[in-house]
């Protein structure tokens, strides 16, 4: 059923029940996302896509559109709120872009640029998190995990369907874990997919890194905004 909603005062036509974040992208309005991927089930963990819907702040990936909805995306206060959420992620872990294998193809970094982050307004915490190097083909650089749960939900053992990654504990003690036996069974392409899926440089494929020269890296060739807006055709 065709419905009408407004995004930043502009009326757009959408299908009832479509996800707000997709509707916005289809109409040329970029909303940053870190956990959400178009075509995959919504996780709603990162909140980077927060917008105001009929006056309430909601994560745009979790909102099915309905007729008459009034959405504010680029209103300064809500835009600053999204920026603050990204700044929190940078303050919470150790995101050392200059020394990171994922730099230039990191979604967190790319979203940082899009929200215009220069510095985090929150004190940098410098947490101590041990890296997990036991699996044969990959390792976890836990400093960089933002707990989006993409790997937890979408990377599964091909045979049994069991989860390979999990999150242990809660709050400041939360830690991304990997089932080493299952990880060692992962075919090479699945390892690569998992590393690609990770929006930061936490899941890293062993023996690979810094392969693309500066200026030729993923988001330098095409920005995350262009990529999000380009996927218009369903």
């Amino acid at each position: 059923m065709s419905i009408r909603i407004t995004i930043d005062g502009h009326e757009v036509i959408a299908q009832h029940g479509d996800r707000l974040v997709d509707v916005a992208a289809d109409n040329g309005v970029y909303i940053p996302t870190l956990c959400y991927q178009r075509g995959k089930p919504c996780l709603g963990t990162c909140r980077a896509c927060s917008v105001r819907v009929n006056g309430n702040v909601m994560a745009a990936c979790t909102v099915p559109v309905s007729d008459g909805m009034e959405v504010e995306v680029n209103e300064p206060e809500v835009a600053d709120m999204r920026k603050a959420l990204v700044e929190l992620l940078f303050a919470e872990g150790n995101h050392n872009c200059p020394s990171c294998e994922k730099s230039g193809r990191c979604e967190l970094q790319a979203v940082g640029y899009e929200v215009g982050m220069m510095v985090s307004r929150f004190p940098y915490r410098f947490p101590v998190r041990e890296r997990e190097t036991a699996p044969e083909k990959l390792w976890l650089e836990r400093d960089r995990c933002i707990f989006c749960q993409r790997c937890v939900e979408f990377v599964r053992d091909k045979e049994t369907g069991r989860k390979i990654f999990s999150i242990d504990h809660r709050g400041t003690h939360a830690s991304i874990e990997v089932d080493v036996a299952l990880a060692n069974k992962m075919p090479d392409e699945q390892v690569r997919e998992a590393a690609e899926l990770c929006p930061v440089g936490c899941i890293i494929e062993k023996g690979l890194g810094y392969n693309d020269p500066i200026g030729r890296r993923k988001f330098e060739i095409k920005s995350i905004r262009e990529r999000a807006l380009k996927r218009k055709h369903k």
Binding site: C100, S103, E114, V119, S120, Y124, F126, I214
Partner: protein, 209 residues
């Protein structure tokens, strides 16, 4: 750092030949910029030179007082803009940064180290004692017959337990991330400032690495 020996003279206390009045008058009219590197690698200062011909455009309006480029080691008089590279990793850094805050109208954190600590802040997840042991005691490059020890002298700056971003020590007004930021990004911010525009670093030239 204050000198412990009374007979020592700092370089800025030495007699200097004054500039010819015309050059001095032309400089006095310009916007005064002071530059400093704290705990960093001076890469951001090199990036400042990467402005290339834009540097000439900028120098029509600004003059650089204290900096590693001019070899002036103190801020001679109040400056409009302070360009700060590097994070805070010892007590001398704190003293220098506070001196800059007191003597500059605007302070800019330039580069990853100034903005959040950068590469030196990688030691923040290791206790300071272990850092010293690794650097001075367990280091494979010590002289075979020497007894390895952690250097200590009143004239040596005292290392802080953690490396801090500049804005956790004094108020910083603007931030240019990057390791180092491109000359283009440094020029954009300085050009906005000297021309009285609102400072804006566009997404296209904002870099964290």
């Amino acid at each position: 750092m204050s000198s412990t020996e009374k007979h020592e003279i700092a370089s800025h206390e030495l007699p200097a030949t004054p500039l010819d009045p015309e050059t001095q008058a032309a400089r006095d009219e310009k916007i005064q910029v002071a530059m400093i590197g704290l705990c960093g690698c001076w890469g951001c200062t090199l990036s400042f030179l990467d402005m290339d011909e834009n540097l000439l455009r900028l120098l029509e309006k600004v003059t650089i007082t204290r900096s590693s480029l001019t070899d002036v080691k103190r801020i001679p008089h109040r400056c409009a803009i302070g360009f700060v590279e590097g994070g805070v990793a010892n007590d001398e850094n704190i003293e220098t940064l506070e001196h800059f805050r007191e003597n500059c109208d605007i302070l800019i954190s330039v580069g990853a180290c100034a903005v959040w600590g950068g590469v030196p802040a990688m030691r923040n997840v290791v206790p300071l004692e272990e850092c010293f042991e690794e650097a001075y005691l367990d280091v494979p490059t010590t002289e075979p017959d020497s007894e390895p020890r952690i250097p200590y002298h009143p004239d040596l700056p005292k290392i802080t337990t953690k490396v801090y971003p500049c804005h956790e020590v004094v108020k910083m007004d603007y931030f240019i991330p990057g390791c180092p930021p491109d000359g283009e990004a440094i020029f954009k911010v300085l050009d906005d400032l000297v021309n009285g525009r609102e400072v804006e670093l566009p997404t296209s030239i904002n870099r964290y690495d």
